[in-house]
């Protein structure tokens, strides 16, 4: 299988602080890769480098949206990276809370549409068709993520789990080849986590989207991931399948004191 994301010795410094220290990572087509590690191990910094919020100090990030179409994306602006096909969710939910659920997803369609100011004012046939397509595609995504019933609710009125799913729906609307989920199960109850798990698998299998997931919930990571990468203090300390990670003594040491095997 081809790789869609290749990260070579990525390093990120903040002043004198090294948040990430030459980390390699690869995501292959239709894989679910999980990035785990204790708090403050650099996971979120890593995802921010990937999505253009930070420009990495050293190292390369390559993406291949189409087989063979390899491209270096270091330091490219956030919105361009989203356009190129990396979509993300946020650890602390960042929805457009006063817009409706449907509109949130429609914002995701923004970069796949063209209408400008003139088009908006004249509202010709082309613009109308594009608008309707945005609405229809967005609604379709809501149906697939199980949010269709609340389409016209303001996003802030959704229950917590549904807000997390809406973040994913919004990201899917940008038609990514790679979806980056930043702690998607945080704060969810077991039932919501199960539903989320099922949704992630469906995204991979039906939409053929590769997934890079940062997560704390070990049960979910173990059951979903094709490969797991463990960060500690900004360094990669282990990589492998769920079974390999489970038995890796370094990982257990890094997590010592945290509830690693706890709820397994």
């Amino acid at each position: 299988m081809d790789s869609v994301l290749t990260v070579n010795s990525l390093t990120m410094n903040f002043g004198g602080l090294r948040a990430i220290d030459s980390v390699d990572l690869e995501v292959r087509q239709e894989q679910i890769v999980a990035l785990i590690g204790p708090n403050g191990s650099g996971k979120t910094t890593f995802s921010n480098c990937l999505t253009g919020i930070y420009e990495p100090t050293e190292g390369d990030i390559f993406i291949s949206p189409t087989p063979g179409g390899r491209r270096r994306i270091n330091g490219i602006k956030i919105n361009r990276i989203a356009e190129m096909g990396i979509a993300r969710t946020f650890q602390n939910i960042r929805l457009f809370s006063n817009m409706t659920v449907l509109e949130n997803v429609m914002i995701g369609r923004h970069c796949r549409a063209k209408a400008g100011v003139l088009g908006a004012v004249l509202r010709g046939r082309k613009t109308r068709r594009e608008e309707q397509e945005i609405v229809d595609r967005s609604y379709e995504i809501l149906v697939r993520t199980g949010l269709a019933d609340q389409a016209d609710e303001p996003a802030k009125n959704l229950p917590y789990g549904a807000q997390r799913r809406l973040e994913i729906a919004r990201a899917l609307a940008t038609e990514p080849f790679l979806l980056l989920l930043d702690e998607p199960a945080a704060g969810m109850n077991p039932r919501e986590t199960d539903e989320l798990e099922e949704l992630i698998v469906r995204i991979r299998d039906e939409a053929k989207i590769s997934i890079l997931m940062i997560e704390h919930d070990m049960r979910m990571v173990m059951s979903l991931s094709n490969r797991i990468i463990v960060l500690d203090y900004g360094e990669k300390i282990a990589e492998g399948t769920a079974a390999q990670i489970w038995e890796n003594p370094d990982v257990i040491k890094a997590y010592l004191g945290e509830d690693f095997h706890g709820d397994a």
Partner: protein, 410 residues
Amino acid sequence: MKASAEFIKSFFISLWFMLLTFPILVIRVNTIEKVVEWRWRNMAFIGIGSFLLSFVWRWLLSRKEKGRQPAETGNVETLPLGRRLLAEPRIYRPALTALALFTIAFPLLFSSYQTNIMTTALIYVMLGLGLNIVVGLAGLLDLGYVAFYAVGAYSYALLNHHFGLGFWAILPVGGLLGALFGILLGFPVLRLRGDYLAIVTLGFGEIIRLILENWNAFSFGPSGIANISRPGLFGISMTLNEATIYIYYLMVALCLFTIFVVNRLQDSRIGRAWIALREDEVACQAMGIDKTRTKLTAFALGATWAGMVGVIFAAKTTFINPACFTFMESAMILSIVVLGGMGSIAGVILGALILILTPEYLRAFSAYRMLLFGTAMVLMMVFRPQGIVTNIRRVYRYGTKGKESRPAQA
């Protein structure tokens, strides 16, 4: 809280305000004649007024606190009665017709003095709607909006003075120049945080005014430019009265045009991007929206409108000087948007009419005009940040392909 405790609290508040306003409100010194005037009556007013208002204040605050809770627990907010009535075609159709007839008949029913006032109010409606794009929709606090207004007014005044160019030729030019200035200013400053942006735009507005005031060779300095031509109509010569009526209808037409454009913009891809940007910049960019470009579009469009209204203003008053374009003017337009409801077209129209017409018709208020504006801004922010008219999100028609979506917003 017990009633007696409330009473004591209000008593102390009233005491505090009497003491606080004592030097400014009670004492007035005439430094030339060396007399001190003691206005004890004012102290009594303040005492009684603040005593009563403190009850109202606490009541409003507690109501706001209560209002917040159901929203947090996820209850459905019911629409206010006014909006439910307006959603009913049997009611809003005749209401709209009556309003249209009234607007058309206004100059025939009232004197040209009244018509003039109405035209001024309509100018502010248009300015408010223009600023609403920037502040209400895109969430960019622009405190130098008046600068673009000045650009439009001066471009008409100067081009008319030097080259005798007419109103209709300059109207689009004024808009374009406004947009140009908007882009020139916006490009470097739009990456700034919200509050810094506000200050930079304020600074820019003041720079423009000070240049107009001091660059005599260009702008004729503080004395301004007089005898600017009124708008023409196929070369027909008009009496002053006819011209007033003509400008009134012109303003009505331009307001309708503005409403049409803003309405279409806010229900479009661009409009949604503005609102999303206002809600969360980072998330918006992560969805592939170009922050700078989207902001710049809003800023430039707002400036275009200010430029056009500037041309109309110069043509209406036939005289402009830099004193017409002070920060207070920007603040006035801002308070129209804030009072009416950020992002709501109907709200901004209502806000402009209330804030401009009230001081005109209630003469007693006219001295307190700016005092009212300031108070309105504070009170709206504290008690009703969404404005008089809440902007309700549009509901789209989905699932059934090919059909038009139905707008649910008044």
